[in-house]
């Protein structure tokens, strides 16, 4: 689905990460795995460190911290926000939604809208499109978009195909109505037939948590997980990414009339370096325009990975001027979202761990 939305701007970005550092090699050695094998995997996939949330810290906490730091940096009062959108797959509760909880924590004006989007790695682009629509056509002058997850809580420590990949983070972005701004061109899509390739089977209404002990099941490679763990078919996820991301990127570039040469950067969901470099190459972008080192410092941060990569790779130029960027997220739900737009200058609060004292 294509949409072009005019008269909106990205006004600010912030990301708060988990405060605890996990080392890929050290964790593997602690499980008794072979160092050579670990180093091979680290080199090929691009795994080094990741930041996970301290016990008791949730995506809501991380996003609240990011939002407060962003509002401070921008010199804005929370009462100026007309709507808050919260993108997450790891909400504090099944009810109420995280957006309403954040609305209360930040003290937004009564009457400011609040809703969640249940999406992961594609979610920031979906959320950006919704925020832009609210500004362009929905009566909002300023929208707070928060996106984040604590996926490290969903993986089994002995699932080496999944557990080492994920870091925890929360992001905050401000989207504002403005005049005379060039259009943002979006491409959103999904292929629900493949949605079960990334799944946490237990914990929803279909298979609720119960009092029975969870059965740990090993796979062909000796990885272990149970029904309440995140399960991901790596090969299928890789093929899906190669199949869907490049056409979406090409479509938004075509609508925006962005050549590769005239585009300042392609920011892909930071799944891992292996996926980023392969998808980036297939999109026709040189490696120097496709940041891929965020994941080696923070891990795969789900819906917070694109804003984190924007801050990590483009803080200086984005703070000073406008950049032509193409962003693309892809993942859970077999969903994808791409946008081509001019972003900046904007307020950026630096990437920080939360709690700050840790």
């Amino acid at each position: 689905m294509h949409s072009s939305i005019t008269n909106v701007r990205l006004a600010g970005l912030a990301v708060s990460t988990g405060s605890q550092t996990r080392d890929f090699i050290a964790d593997g050695l602690a499980l008794g795995l072979d160092r050579v094998m670990l180093e091979r995997t680290a080199q090929t996939i691009g795994l080094r460190e990741r930041k996970v949330a301290a016990p008791g810290i949730t995506a809501l906490d991380l996003c609240e911290d990011a939002a407060r730091r962003l509002l401070d940096a921008a010199g804005l009062d929370a009462s100026s926000i007309d709507a808050v959108i919260f993108v997450t797959q790891t909400p504090d509760h099944s009810q109420p939604n995280n957006a309403s909880l954040l609305h209360g924590r930040l003290g937004l004006a009564t009457g400011a809208a609040a809703f969640d989007l249940s999406l992961g790695c594609s979610g920031w682009v979906y959320g950006l499109q919704q925020a832009a629509l609210l500004c362009a056509h929905g009566g909002a002058a300023r929208v707070l978009l928060c996106a984040g997850d604590t996926l490290s809580r969903l993986t089994h420590a002995k699932d080496r195909a999944t557990d080492p990949l994920f870091g925890d983070a929360g992001s905050a972005a401000l989207i504002e109505r403005t005049g005379l701004a060039a259009a943002w061109h979006f491409e959103l899509g999904a292929d629900g037939a493949g949605a079960n390739a990334i799944i946490v089977p237990q914990g929803g209404a279909r298979m609720p948590h119960d009092s029975k002990p969870l059965t740990e099941i090993p796979d062909l490679d000796g990885n272990v997980r149970h029904a309440a763990n995140l399960s991901m078919q790596g090969g299928e996820v890789f093929n899906f990414s190669l199949r869907q991301a490049p056409p979406a990127v090409a479509a938004v570039r075509r609508h925006a009339h962005y050549t590769v040469e005239a585009t300042d950067g392609l920011v892909l969901h930071q799944a891992n370096r292996f996926v980023i470099t392969t998808v980036g190459r297939k999109c026709g972008f040189p490696a120097e325009k496709t940041p891929s080192d965020v994941v080696e410092r923070y891990g795969n941060q789900s819906s917070a990975s694109i804003p984190c990569a924007l801050i990590h790779a483009f803080t200086e130029p984005l703070s000073a001027r406008s950049l032509r960027l193409v962003l693309c997220g892809f993942g859970v739900g077999w969903s994808w979202g791409a946008v081509a737009a001019e972003f900046g200058p904007l307020v950026i609060a630096p990437i920080q761990p939360y709690p700050h004292s840790a």
Binding site: T44, A161, G234, G235, E236, L242, F274
Partner: protein, 74 residues
């Protein structure tokens, strides 16, 4: 491409297959696993422009079975 040429190409891209023959059982390779499956998928996509799936690769018993998944022509 002959099977021998396909094997040479595979070995050039994925060092998991160093020293392997068409008869080598995949499970006997020291570094066979989920990472190797990803590398095989990438090899097929970049060398042949063709898609093989994780279950297809997992369904192969020997290196020779794997080579049969790849197209005959580049």
């Amino acid at each position: 491409m002959t099977s021998s040429e396909k094997l040479q190409a595979l070995q050039a891209d994925v060092d998991v297959f160093d020293g392997a023959t068409e008869c080598t059982v995949l499970a006997s390779l020291p570094h066979w696993g989920s990472l190797a499956v990803l590398l095989v998928i990438l090899h097929c996509e970049t060398r042949y422009g063709s898609v093989v799936t994780g279950p297809q690769v997992r369904g192969c018993k020997t290196v020779g079975d794997l080579l049969k998944l790849f197209p005959k022509r580049l």
